[in-house]
Symmetry: C2
DNA sequence: TCAATTATGAAATAAAATTTCATAAAAGTT
DNA sequence: AACTTTTATGAAATTTTATTTCATAATTGA
């Protein structure tokens, strides 16, 4: 953890003198990294040994080591954090905040992903006879994107964002089919039912959803992506982006598993678009 | 500048002994920040004063100050960079690389966005009688997502990913309508034509595309999102994520412009979903 | 080849940090 | 409240670390 945060957190557990040091440091950390222990002690009106003890209490080896940690905290600058958009933000401000928050959430998501499960999911996908992607609302967008990617692989892929079509498709699925159900909350009733139907018909069900949700319980594999709640403006934001990255990862895993020749094929698919485009004149 | 890079850059201008120090440092900077000047001198087989001179040559005040700089370079850690997926990558590796690359590209995209233009686009959107989103392939996904967001605002919104529907819709558009055309390359013929048709019919055309492209030339406003090419596996990856963030930004700008009362409305829209979901029991 | 310049390290010095230890303050205990 | 124990603190001594000085070695240029 960032040592500045740590100081701020633990300041209540400090002794009186230690608190004085903490305050001086928090007030101007960038000055402190250029101060000697004597200078800092004087600034805080306490003795040098106290500063030293303060450093050790924060699990550093001593004052110089402490300064190193402090320097790193400062350099780390602003690690991405969730920042809420405020009513009076200018375009500059909310743009910055949205980027910040998304990055912070992607960072979170990355840490929460299980590469083991991804590996297994890729296994199943490469062996599938048919792949279906189901989602509603914002997750329909993710399903749509997944279709766009997997479609290139010359595998039968469908995507539905219509409850009835999803149900019919689920009922028609059989062993060897993989059904990917996408829902951030995992609590959308009709999607849980769809997952259930697919499972009953022996399809393999993979959930891109939150762990422990009702939907998760119906899935053979749950790929959960942790993201701070999208509370800002009552719209799904980071969650769907993290889900899209998961799609990218699955698609990438798929192509790698299929080998080099397969990737030449992808190039052909891409090249097939050329005539629909204006030439680039350079 | 990062002091590690600086060392790497200037290594040719160093004397023989200084180069030895540089090599030891570059080989394992994280060890060095915990070494005394004596330890480092010994490691590099040179004397302590040489290390000291080395530090000063790099514009630091001395060895301790140098360590501080070094610590900061390390903390800055690995700024996100584009890393290409390799044939033999494990799930762990490609997952990491995809996250890395996406983050790097979002960082790029953030820097390239013009908040001025965003502001103008938001202006136009809030005044629009009707908003249309057009895209094809991966950009259709973005258009789809945009519809999902703007639809909540109780404004007439359509999205089409069908060329004919797009053309018909464009021809039917009139003054007061805003048409947003999405294309990463900006070279897809049919979309350029759609933009042209919409413009001819006095709609305001906003392009989410690359600056200077044929599509850009047909737009009243061009919101360009710079992203390194998606060359990896012949699939759009980062580009569409950056586009989605731009949609988030536009949607956010929209809601802010509309004021607090409007945002209560959004909450209602979201709450309307409740009965379609399983309750959360805690 | 020889001066001039530059680079280097041993030793001395200076600076900084840490330890030791005595004392003061605070917290318990009767 | 008086006393003991524990904890916190700083002065001084010590140790560690960094820097300076200066003599010598290596390199460069004539």
């Amino acid at each position: 953890m960032n040592i500045l945060e740590k100081i701020a957190n633990e300041i209540d557990t400090f002794s009186k003198s230690e608190r004085k040091v903490a305050e001086v440091i928090l007030a101007s950390p960038s000055t402190v990294i250029h101060s000697s222990i004597a200078a800092l002690a004087k600034q805080a009106n306490i003795s040098e040994p106290t500063v030293n003890r303060f450093c050790r209490r924060l699990d550093t080896k001593g004052y110089p080591d402490f300064k190193l940690h402090l320097a790193q905290s400062l350099a780390n600058g602003t690690p991405y954090v969730n920042r809420h958009v405020d009513e009076n933000d200018t375009a500059d401000e909310y743009t910055e905040k949205i980027f910040e928050s998304t990055m912070a959430n992607l960072d979170l998501a990355r840490k929460s992903l299980s590469t083991n499960l991804i590996n297994r999911a890729v296994d199943l996908l490469t062996q599938a006879n048919k792949i279906s992607f189901f989602g509603l609302g914002a997750s329909a967008v993710v399903a749509h994107d997944a279709q766009n990617k997997f479609f290139r692989f010359n595998v039968p892929v469908v995507y539905f964002d219509d409850i009835l079509m999803q149900r019919m498709s689920a009922i028609n699925s059989t062993q060897g089919d993989v059904v990917i159900v996408i829902s951030h909350t995992g609590r959308t009733k009709s999607l849980v039912e769809v997952a259930h139907l697919a499972k009953e018909n022996d399809a393999t069900v993979i959930g891109i959803t939150s762990a422990g949700s009702p939907l998760a319980k119906e899935c053979h594999i749950v790929l959960s992506v942790d993201v701070a709640e999208d509370t800002d403006l009552y719209m799904p934001m980071s969650s769907r982006i993290a889900q899209l990255m998961l799609i990218d990862i699955l698609a990438t895993g798929f192509t790698l598993r299929r080998g080099a020749k397969f990737r030449d094929n992808l190039k052909k698919v891409k090249d097939s678009l050329r005539s629909s485009r204006f030439e680039r004149k350079e």
